[in-house]
Amino acid sequence: MHDFAIIVKAMATEKKDILLSILFGFTAGITAVGLFAASGYLISKAALTPPLYSLIILTSTVKLLGITKAIARYAERYFSHRATFTILSNLRVSLFQKMVPMVPRLFQKYRSGDLLSRVVGDVETLQNFFLRVFYPPIVVTIVFLSTILFTSFFSISIALILLIGMLLTVVGIPALFAWRQKKIDHDVRNQRSSLSVQTAEFLNGFRDLTIHQKVEATKQNLIQSSNAYIREQKRESLNKLYSESVNTFLSLLVTWSVLAIGSFLISSGQLEGIFLAMFVLISLTVFEDAGPMAALPVHLQDSKHAATRLTKVTAETSHTTDRQTDAIRLTHARPITAQVRGVSFTFPGEKRQALKNVDITFPASSKTAIVGPSGSGKSTLFMLLLGLYHADTGTITLDDTPMDQIDLDSIWEHTAVMLQENHFFYGTIRDNLILAKDGLTDTEMTEILRKVNLDHFTLDDPVHEKGDNLSGGEKQRLALARAMLKNAHLWLLDEPASSVDPLTEQSIYRHLFKQAANDTLVIVTHRLTNLEKMDQIIVMDHGNVVEIGSFNELMQQKGYLYEMKQIEKNLL
């Protein structure tokens, strides 16, 4: 059960619904048994031509049981599904809470964006845990045990047969199947992900494959992968079918044995003949619910994989949490001095250093531009300044306090940030701006939209998932607007206006510089424009700081920046 700790915890608050599900599940199961037992008894009784009233009582019992069963089944379904969805909700909330301190390190580690959709998918998978793995065996077992108890009043041997049958069909066969399934399941998953990766390569690299004449060969490989995948799926289905068939046959065999033992007991005078039909029908009915137990291991396995993955994702929390208590808070609402001293950094799981022994000072109220080609470490430096990653060696201080003593939350409170990739939430423009600061008014937000040349939007305009309905430039400006609304005194802006035309860029910069006049401003840019306005320019390449100086100094020096400027001039 250790694997399932994560979901069991989420179930803890739903005890009432869980109990109700089990209660009604039991009622439905036991009334079904009772219903058929009664009709078997009824028909036998009828054969002995009894007084009519006893028949009427019996028939009414049958009817009553039938209706009770249908109602109980309805209630069971209702409560079990309600419990399931509430459990999922609890699970989502607790996962979210756990993941908050871990970003963006978590994203770096599993860089591919599908980590998140996997988390979402795994949560969905876990809905089967309660619904198909957790409570049905409980219900089936209680129904069985009650039936066996009832039977034992008439005949111990028949009760024993039922007990053996139950152990085989509810425990034995599913366990055997689970054991065989384990290996297959593993293969199915591997085949599937390999097919998926290969297909992605085939489609994304199609042009290169065409030119290098590898389309046909790659297609043949894909067909083979697909066939291997289908073969594994087939093996899985056949294995499941086999177990179900064995289970069904065993249940039928139990009924056969009940009939045989019953007949023997009756013919030898140890049991009354009138009960025989009843026992046969009881046995047939009670084993109906045992059939689905054969498929339980599939759901168990899926849930286990999902739970394990989710646990793994959140397991690292303990050693990567943000510091909470006894940390110093940045309190002053004034420009901040930031210092980077001998900082080196390598992303977890990568070999090459992203930053190599970097030394930079950002004096209070200074304006700095960090330039360099893509992959030079500009954006990484931002992540470190924000405390989203920790330097491997060297120190970063904000107002002379080392980063690792500062409450990170207070850094974010006093920083206006715009990262390379900014997230926009599904909703409206207003929804996406209002999270900048408490108590923002519509007027303020409309005013900011004007400043970043986004006045063609109103606050009520929709924003689709991930801002898909906005162009690259619009997203950039919306993120900048959000940062500007924050009114902080340390600005860290990654490519604030690189995808807009020079004139718009001019106007945006004018507003930005006006608002940040007294603040510490750091801008990452690969476009070498507007650099004259900066106090210092830091040129980076492959994780190194290659030059620091003002625009004029560096241009006169005719070093890296100068050459980059020449290339840029040459760009159309």
Binding site: V62, H212, K219, I223, Q233, S245, K466
Partner: protein, 578 residues
């Protein structure tokens, strides 16, 4: 949808087998009830000895075994058909994808295609493995039971035939309700279900704006909202099962009551008949109910099938190739464009009437603003897009007359974002060429492309596996790796899509020098973004809105074409806009 049925019909042998099995299963169902009733009657009514009925026990055991076996083989057949059909559909899809021209492959969001190839095809499984076999069973077994019931006791048969239609009727009514309800709730459901993913994706932003706590509340609200919306739909489904259960229960009750009355009051039927029919009745209704649940899974796999079939019948625009060999001569071929045209199906843009002569060893630059059709033209010349009108000739034969392999064998295409495949670095360099290359040749190519130092620093050197799409390599390094491919291949035609942004200085220099070096042995056609490339070119093709506005050298165009002058000068002025 017809696609699925056709596919099923193509498995005629299996269909006949399934029908036969269903008839035999039905027989076993009847025999099972018969033996059970006979045994109970022998013991209970006739009070025979146990030994007298051993044969019947043997018969019952055989029937139970056979019943299980028939069911097993029926479902097994379904699984086999499903596996075959999935393989067929997937192969069809892959053929379709492979036939598409480069452009169509690029524009169809690869995520959607992957999902069709994997998920949609997988979802079709249950149509073949469950829906069809159960449909056959459900249409045969109840009929057989009904027939038997009529022969035994007409009233039971009548009760069955009257009550049976209520089951499908209720299913249809409730199915329609559920559909309407879920359509009504759909928007709500999508919004709710997307919110968790949205919040996770935005975690960094939420954190930096210190909104995580508020968002936690929002997730809870939307999760519970999702629950309530789903429960509303589910409740209809539960009500439907409730009704079905009630109908079958009541029907069985009526059957039993009628039998009991006949048994006691009129003494018309024997105990055997009554018990026999009483055991057949639940089987009759159970098969009908099962059809209902199968119907649901059949519907969703039909939906998946529709997606697959739609993809399969989508128009493609395949490239036609001939069998003319393009000799790997010492001199690159002469290329000529005669009124070459291309237009996109979905977009307004079209490339019109491009005329140009590209002599051997020519150095051609294609210039124009973004969206003017530069890449489209390069793709047309490369033979990656089908011409709509006009002609492109290579050594006086039309490009399409050549053998595909001999054409691509002489071509290198250096794109802005070269694609690296999973495999080692050596394999990635060697994939440029169809020939076998020694490690020395590969290393030499890497040396020429200025990437050898980077590779040698890696632990496994040339045998280092490259992750998906070259993870871990910088843009400049990937560009150099693409150059190494070209050095190894020694093509006679080079198509070069120059990077639009500046790379690191080292790569910029290597790129420039390498291209010059490669151009000594080849014709080179560049989509140019750098002024020096344009100034060096023999001929510039200047495009505007899909039209060839002018061609000539840089000096000529500056002199004669105001649009060209504006574009180049605007750039020169760009640095002063600060």
């Amino acid at each position: 949808m017809s696609g699925l049925q056709n596919n099923m019909l193509s498995h005629k042998k299996q269909l006949i087998f399934l029908c036969t099995l269903a008839v035999m299963t039905a027989t076993m169902v009847v025999l099972q009830a018969y033996f059970l009733a006979a045994i109970v009657e022998a013991i209970f009514v006739q009070e025979q000895t146990f030994s007298a009925i051993t044969l019947m026990f043997a018969g019952l055991a055989a029937v139970l075994l056979l019943r299980t076996a028939f069911t097993y083989f029926g479902r097994r057949t379904g699984i086999m058909v499903a596996a075959n059909s999935k393989a067929t559909y997937r192969r069809g899809l892959l053929d379709k994808f492979a036939d598409e021209s480069v452009l169509q492959a690029a524009q169809g969001q690869s995520g959607g295609k992957i999902s069709i190839l994997l998920d949609a095809v997988d979802e079709m499984d249950s149509y073949f493995s469950e829906y069809i076999p159960q449909l056959i069973q459900a249409s045969i077994i109840p009929v057989v039971i009904l027939a038997v019931a009529f022969t035994q006791h007409v009233n039971t048969g009548l009760i069955m035939i009257i009550t049976a239609p209520f089951i499908p009727l209720f299913m249809i009514i409730i199915g329609m309700q559920t559909k309407a309800k879920s359509e009504e709730q759909q928007e709500k459901l999508t919004a709710f279900s997307g919110q968790f993913l949205d919040a996770l994706q935005g975690l960094t932003t939420l954190k930096l704006y210190r909104q995580a706590r508020a968002q936690k509340k929002a997730i809870e609200t939307s999760s519970l909202g999702f629950r309530d919306a789903t429960m509303e739909i589910l409740q209809i489904a539960f009500t439907s099962s409730f009704m079905l259960e009630l109908i079958s229960m009541l029907s069985i009750g009526i059957v039993a009551l009628e039998l009991a009355i006949q048994l006691i009051i009129y003494e018309q039927v024997s105990f055997f008949t009554a018990f026999f029919l009483l055991m057949l009745a639940p089987e009759f209704y159970a098969t009908l109910k099962q059809l209902g649940s199968t119907f649901h899974s059949g519907q969703s796999s039909k939906g998946a099938a529709t997606k697959v079939v739609k993809e399969l019948t989508k128009d493609t625009d395949p490239l036609i190739w001939g069998d003319l060999e393009l000799p790997a001569a010492a001199i690159p071929p002469a290329i000529e464009l005669q009124n070459a045209c291309y237009h996109y199906a979905e977009r307004q843009f079209s490339l019109e009437n491009i005329n140009a002569v590209i002599p051997p060893y020519g150095d051609i630059a294609i210039v124009g603003r973004s969206g003017s059709g530069k890449s489209t033209l390069l793709h047309l010349i490369a033979g990656l897009l089908p011409l709509k009108e006009g002609n492109i000739t290579v050594n006086d034969h039309s490009l399409g007359a050549y053998n595909k392999h001999s054409w691509f064998g002489q071509l290198s295409y250096i794109s802005q974002h070269p694609y690296l495949f999973s495999g080692t670095i050596a394999e990635n360099i060697a994939m440029g060429s169809t020939l076998d290359h020694t490690r020395e040749e590969i290393e030499q190519a890497a040396e020429q492309a200025g990437i050898a130092d980077v590779i040698n620093q890696l632990d496994q050197g040339y045998d280092t596996p490259v992750g998906e799409a070259g993870r871990g390599l910088s843009g400049g390094e990937m560009q150099r790796l693409a150059l190494a491919r070209a050095f190894l291949k020694k093509p006679s035609i080079i198509l070069f899509d120059e990077p639009t942004t500046a790379l690191d200085l080292y790569t910029e220099r290597i790129l420039y020098a390498s291209i010059r070096q490669l151009a000594q042995q080849a014709t080179i056609i560049t989509v140019a973004h750098r002024l020096y490339t344009i100034k060096d070119a023999d001929t510039i093709l200047f495009l505007e809105s899909g039209k060839l506005l002018a061609s000539g050298t840089h000096a000529e165009l500056i002199r004669n074409v105001p649009e060209y002058r504006n574009m180049v000068l605007a750039n020169d002025g760009g640095e002063n806009n600060a």
